[in-house]
Amino acid sequence: MENSELALMSNKIRQDIIKSIHKAGSGHPGGSLSITDILTYLYFEEMLINPFNPNDLLRDRFVLSKGHAAPALYSVLANRGYFKPGELQNLRKLGGFLQGHPEMKHTPGVDMSTGSLGQGISAAVGMALSFKLDNKENRVYTILGDGELEEGQVWEATMFAGNNHLDNLVIIVDNNNLQIDGTIQDVNSPYPIEEKFKSFRCNVIEIDGHCFTSIRNAFKQARQNKGVPTVVIANTVKGKGVSFMEDQLSWHGTAPNDQQLSLAIQELQEEALLWQK
């Protein structure tokens, strides 16, 4: 896909994220919008997947370690054809399969149940290890929040991935600089992170997480990298795409009301017109 097509899809997915969280009445828009461009690129361009057979053994795997960004994953999966977009209306609803945090047993396309921070990366590491043990070509991608890096398990997993030469693994850090209680620096900064990942024997690439050219180049470079895992530090903006949500802590875990919903959708629709031209 061309960058403009990716941008248009990403825009559509952002609208679905906002609508589904509004309908649910709760959820995490900020961290969903910050990973939308990367997630769109992964599912529409980068990963080898089969939406018609979500359990295809040949598929690449994706683990949303920052599970609270589930609305982004669900909106991508719906737009990619894993399930009917109408299901997004049932986000967080009793009886629906779109749980507040990803659940692999009932949601087509979800490769791992996540939500408790720090745990998804370990599962991704296990998948990558399995493919290495069997000399398979499958690749594994996982997205972590920058706040999530405060979990010690992340570094246990990274140490293990480096030591086991898992070059089929790409760890993406959604570096939006905000967590529930404040900025990363205010709460408990894991920075500098580039040096940390390098010292754990990772190939580190820093990019603008909203620029499709940068995203494309990073994943290309990750494929060429041999012997160690790749870490993509994606500098992002929390709430990206909706002006009043951008870089605002208050939008970490709050659903938009009716008025905020129409403002957000209107803004995104205007942006879409620009991409369509």
Partner: protein
């Protein structure tokens, strides 16, 4: 009577399993010599994954491996599996009901000289509360090996509890093990003694002592703590007037609690729980600790006589 530690039986059973099942992988956290997964490593070095001293990650890696069709047996001490990695077991393994076998060794106070930090008397309680988790605490070598095989054949998460202390072999070759099915070791008419793990042999010793006093005890081995053999429990309530539960575990949340939870309100009997009484252990030889914490056959015999 021949003695062997169930951790040793576990290591040996893994080797047999490794030969027949190519999808079995074994994970350890730098304790392979103690957990006996070193036996598997020697035979299948490529399928033995040392995760280092990082148990939380090890459980997650096992979860990831299982999503691709591997059957991981994950080993460390009970304290660091059920204790330290409790939440990883709950959320990454049990919530998606993944086919991961958590094989914890060095459970209970029989760990001995290492002391309280390494003596996990709470693991059965912790694991039992997790939905869908099977919890097995084998009594001897034969049962431990059979349990490993059964855990492999069962699809879903299983917690296996093994001991450091060599224990007498009470079962015989040809023994049939079934998850969730209690084993009646001795019929009796007065009381029922239900035991698990290392306490099964002690239950048999106690029953002999009681016999000399004219007390006829029914002895049952509940190797599976979850699911509990409700049927065999009901049978005991009907056949004898009270139940004594014996476990090398806290009396809070273990076998005794499981038995009480399983009681039918319309068919109950007194239950006396014998185990670790809400306390930490300490350093000492296993035998000395069993004596001090009231788990030796003499101490239990006296306790039962007093209670009757």
């Amino acid at each position: 009577m021949a003695k062997i530690a169930t951790r040793e039986s576990y290591g040996q059973a893994l080797v047999s399993l490794g030969h027949e099942a190519k999808n079995v992988v074994v994970l350890d956290a730098d304790l392979s010599v103690a957990t006996k997964t070193c036996l598997f490593r020697k035979e299948f070095p490529k399928r033995h994954i040392n995760c280092g001293i990082a148990e939380a990650n090890m459980i997650g890696v096992a979860a990831g491996l299982s999503t691709t069709g591997k059957i991981p047996f994950v080993s460390t001490f009970a304290m660091f599996a059920a204790g330290r990695a409790y939440e990883q077991i709950r959320n990454s393994v049990a919530y998606p009901h993944l086919n991961v076998k958590i094989a914890a060794t060095h459970a209970g106070i029989s760990v001995g000289p290492d002391g309280a930090t390494h003596q996990c008397n709470e693991d059965i309680a912790l694991m039992r509360t997790i939905p869908g988790m099977v919890v097995i605490n084998p009594a001897d070598d034969i049962e431990a090996k059979a349990a490993v095989k059964a855990a492999y054949e069962y699809e879903g998460p299983v917690y296996l509890r093994f001991s450091r202390l060599p224990s007498p072999i009470i079962n015989t070759e040809g023994y049939q093990f079934q998850i969730g099915k209690g084993v009646l070791l001795k019929e009796g008419t007065d009381i029922t003694i239900i035991a698990t793990g290392l306490m099964v042999f002690i239950a048999l010793e106690v029953s002999h002592l009681l016999e000399l006093q004219g007390i006829n005890a029914r002895v049952i081995n509940f190797h599976t703590l979850k699911p509990l053999d409700h049927h065999m429990l009901q049978e005991s309530i009907e056949k004898t007037k009270c139940i004594f539960t014996l476990e090398e575990h806290s009396i809070i949340g273990g076998l005794g609690s499981a038995v009480l939870e399983s009681m039918n309100p319309n068919n109950m009997c007194p239950v006396h729980r014998i185990g670790i009484e809400d306390s930490f252990g300490e350093s000492g030889d296993a035998e000395e600790l069993f004596e001090k914490y009231g788990l030796s056959s003499n101490k239990i015999y006296e306790k039962i006589l007093n209670l009757l």
